[in-house]
């Protein structure tokens, strides 16, 4: 390993092998190292191995995160899917946080009140402006109504999940624990299982 070929020792070449593959050496240095590798069988084999290892490592796949992990993260962070009437998980309705909706509604309401007050200061109000203010008020009130309904729906769904679904799942889980052993095999029914000496004929 310490022999010299073409004025370069193999040790010096091997230290520069990876930088050579990375293209980090100067042109002159790269040429000298490459020339050494061409005529030195030891360094040539090291070079081939290094390139092969790198190719194998770079051929290892980047892995997809399983959907269940991402779903669990979304669930934990409060981005929970809503349930439709059939109880199926549905994401068709965009999930806008209630606080955001309430804030938007409040801003709209304040702007509307301010607008109406401004209008009140004006001695003459045209019919067109009255009509516009009426429409805006109706829109704001209907928006608030929608926000309230949506909040109520979400609270009901949450209560349903916590009180009904979780309780039922817990009950099923407990009943399965009674009927299955640790390995998932069915345990004999304590009522119908014959005791020692019974039914052994």
């Amino acid at each position: 390993m310490s022999r010299r070929v073409d004025g370069l020792s193999c040790e010096n070449v091997l230290v520069r092998l990876e930088p050579l593959i990375d293209g980090e050496l100067s042109v002159d240095e790269a040429a000298a190292i490459s020339a050494h590798i061409e005529i030195c069988s030891t360094c040539s084999e090291e070079s081939i191995l290094a390139k092969r290892i790198r190719a194998e490592l770079r051929g290892l796949p980047e892995l997809d995160t399983p959907d269940r992990v991402l779903s669990a993260v979304r669930w934990e962070t409060g981005d929970r899917p809503s349930l439709d009437r059939a109880g199926r998980v549905s994401r068709l309705i965009p999930q806008i946080p209630i606080r955001t909706l309430a804030a938007v509604a409040a801003v709209l309401l304040i702007a509307l009140i301010g607008h109406l007050r401004q209008d009140r200061a004006v001695p003459e109000i045209s019919d067109k402006e009255v009509l516009r203010a009426t429409i805006e008020t109706k829109l704001a009130l209907s928006y608030l109504g929608e926000v309230t309904r949506r909040a109520e729906r979400q609270v009901r769904q949450q209560v349903f999940i916590e009180k009904v679904v979780s309780t039922a799942a817990h009950g099923i889980s407990r009943s399965l624990e009674w009927t299955l052993d640790a390995g998932g095999r069915e345990l004999p029914d304590p009522v119908s299982t014959p005791k020692n000496g019974e039914g052994s004929s």
Partner: protein, 176 residues
Amino acid sequence: MRRLAFDTAVSLHERRVFTLAAYLLDDRQEAEDVTQEVLLRLWRRGHEVDPARVGAWLLRVTRNACIDLLRRRRAGAGLVLVDEKTEQGRRAPQTTPGPEALARASELGDRIRCALAALSEPIRSVVILREVQGLSYQEISDALEMPLSSVRVNLHRGRRRLREELKEVRDHVAAC
């Protein structure tokens, strides 16, 4: 952390997080657990993270979580997880199939993955981030909070060790 910023960060970086965990732990189930925990930590503490450095932060937290897990696992499995300076690592048996199942089943490929799993820290992290995940030296430096010179040194050591570990198959390689 705000929802939009969090969702964006997750969609940009979740694969890198899971891949790093999978190759560091060599156990898919544990990698899933670590990925979930890391992403939840981002949700809880994202406001403390510079938005421009979320990727590096995620990789650093992932690596730390994996190291914690490997430390706990080491007692039972005898894994390599000693500091590079002590040079007292013991090679662990491959107890659980992980990313190797997804990779090609060539003899050299198998040996490379075993050799990779046997590298000590932080060499293994540097090699995975550079050679498997294709990060730049600067990105690795940011992720591991390590000077660029140390990244180069660790990468050089890792590559050299992989070559040393695989010298016995050199004849096979040369014949290919």
